[in-house]
Amino acid sequence: MSKWWVGGMAAVLCAGAFAAASPPEDAGVMTITARYTQNVPTGIDDPIWQRVAQAQVPVSGRLEMAGVRGMVSTRALYTDRDLHFLLSWEDPTRSVTKGSWQYDGQKWVHLAGDEDRIALLFEIQRIQHFSSRSCAVVCHSPADLPREKWSLATKSPVEKGDLWHWKAARSDPYGYADDGWLTVAGNPSGSYRETGRRNDAGNGGDVKNETPDGSRPLYMQDPARRPSVPGFLLREEAVPILDYSRFKAGDVIPYRLPVKPDGSRFDVKAASRYAEGRWTVMLSRRLNTGREDDVVFDPRKRFSFAIAVFDDTGGDHSKTTRSLVLVFKR
């Protein structure tokens, strides 16, 4: 009798411990689970991605895009060193024009069209209510600016975000997502007056390819070098245009020249593909870069984040997710 009793009780104790060990997720916040793997995914087509459950994350438009909805298929993996995301979303057109110059035979004009992008925002230091209200709480330009001009910024300097910004025309040619961080707007003043976005330390981003009067491009592809990324003009491969008469009507020169990234700004590596009306982007970053301008991913913790998708636009207006949370599971 006592053996059965003890056995039964041990089973109940184990069941109780199991119940306590696996707390259920609560409703209200969508959870993205990063699964542990020992093998680093080699790219978008690595079969390891097929072993990870895909979360369909709804995104919906803001401001003039209100009512526009979509889905971002999201997968996440982590190793002992890195975190990887595989993001895929519908986009009817591949937009990488970003206002490229076109010569019409008489003058240079900007082509219509902008750029597709995707951005992820995490918390480096807690952003009040970000975990429940997502990007809505990071729109805090100085109070003297009209509300419609408010841009991405936190409310107080103790709040700090980590912004990964993949840009089809400006960061993708170098295979990275521009790594920045988010703080209050207006400090320092000048170009930072209306936004809290800051670049991480290091080089990257892009430069505008235009003459001081803004009437025509300043640079062209170095004729002595083959373009390493066809269709794009990298700043390091550009040379000043000395003779504009060499161009004929219809010639196109990119307007934004990606700058070779390095340092903390180059922390988030990216691989991408556009096919069958979809972008698929893989982002990878070290769990801990050791830099103050990056979120530290401790696999024991959960991380609030948000995703925004931009379709052929250069502005802040996008389709964004509601609150998401990233958890790590072995």
């Binding site: 807690r126 975990s131 959960r302």
Partner: protein, 359 residues
Amino acid sequence: MSEVQVHAAGQRPSAAAAREGCGRLLRVRVPADAICWHRFFGALQLALIGLLFLTGVLMALAYTPVPGTAYDSVDYFQFSLPFGDVVRGVHHYAWNLLLVVMALHLLRALVLGAYKAPRQPVWVSGVLFLLVIPLFIITGDLLPWDQKGYWSTQVRFSIIASVPLVGDFLVQLLRGGPLTGIVALTRCYVLHILLLPGVLLLLIGLHMYFLATRGLSGPPAGEAAARPQVPFLPTIANRWLAVFLASAIGLGLAARLWPAPLGDPADPTDSSFIPRPEWWVLALNQLVAIFKGPFMVIGSAIIPGALIFLLAALPFLDRSPERRPSKRRGVLLGAAVVLAAWAVLSVMGYVEHFVQPEP
């Protein structure tokens, strides 16, 4: 300063009393099966309470009971301080396990008829734990100031408020205002670390006193027979220490492998957050869900209150000296029916909250 009185023998009275007390303790002998491999729930319960006290004190050293910083202090404690995750995890798993062990302890006493004369006060004081331990959990849930704790507390406040006559008053007393904010957090904190531990220590003392004066229950069929005795010190104390160490190591490992949950920071304006009930309140939640509107009080207070009352009154309702389970089928059948109903309600609650998709 008062003059120090010295005993005729040259000893201070307090030292003599201490020496005499130790001597008495050393001479105490208890049944050998007070703590043994098939009877350890009471010892385990005490070990878990000890662990809860210890880990609670350690966490209190880093905790700030203010809504703006409470979450960050818990986050810092768990993820930035050395072994913070283990300490908080042990606290988390200890109370979960305590509920299970407490229920098993009572069940064992019920099945073996240990509540019968002369041990009625032992039983009643044990049942009272059922009222105090959940209060610890209710007040402790709010302290991390995360979404789950905050909104679970809101749900509990609304359930407490449904209790006739005293419900609203109790909620006002706990919350200290119309909103759950800094006053509620402070009151829950004080209750959790000061007042409730005091009540719990008192209950433990009472339970032990009644155990010492009324005796441990023996086997149902042969209680009158002489049982082997062992000294309390060191035999039983060592066994208890073994239980304590085993549970500390086990829970410590569990805490390291599966960190205690800490949700997102509480956002009192985010009413879209729907907290899901924890395993131990699934049945209670389902009762509340069955009796809706003006009848809510039946599920929230009358049925649980009646069950606790029946449980406490059991020794006075079942007065026969017979302890053998086979001869007490009526009581055991009643208990089985209640347990089965509880299990069914829990399963229903689980299905409703965790299996069925959200609307």
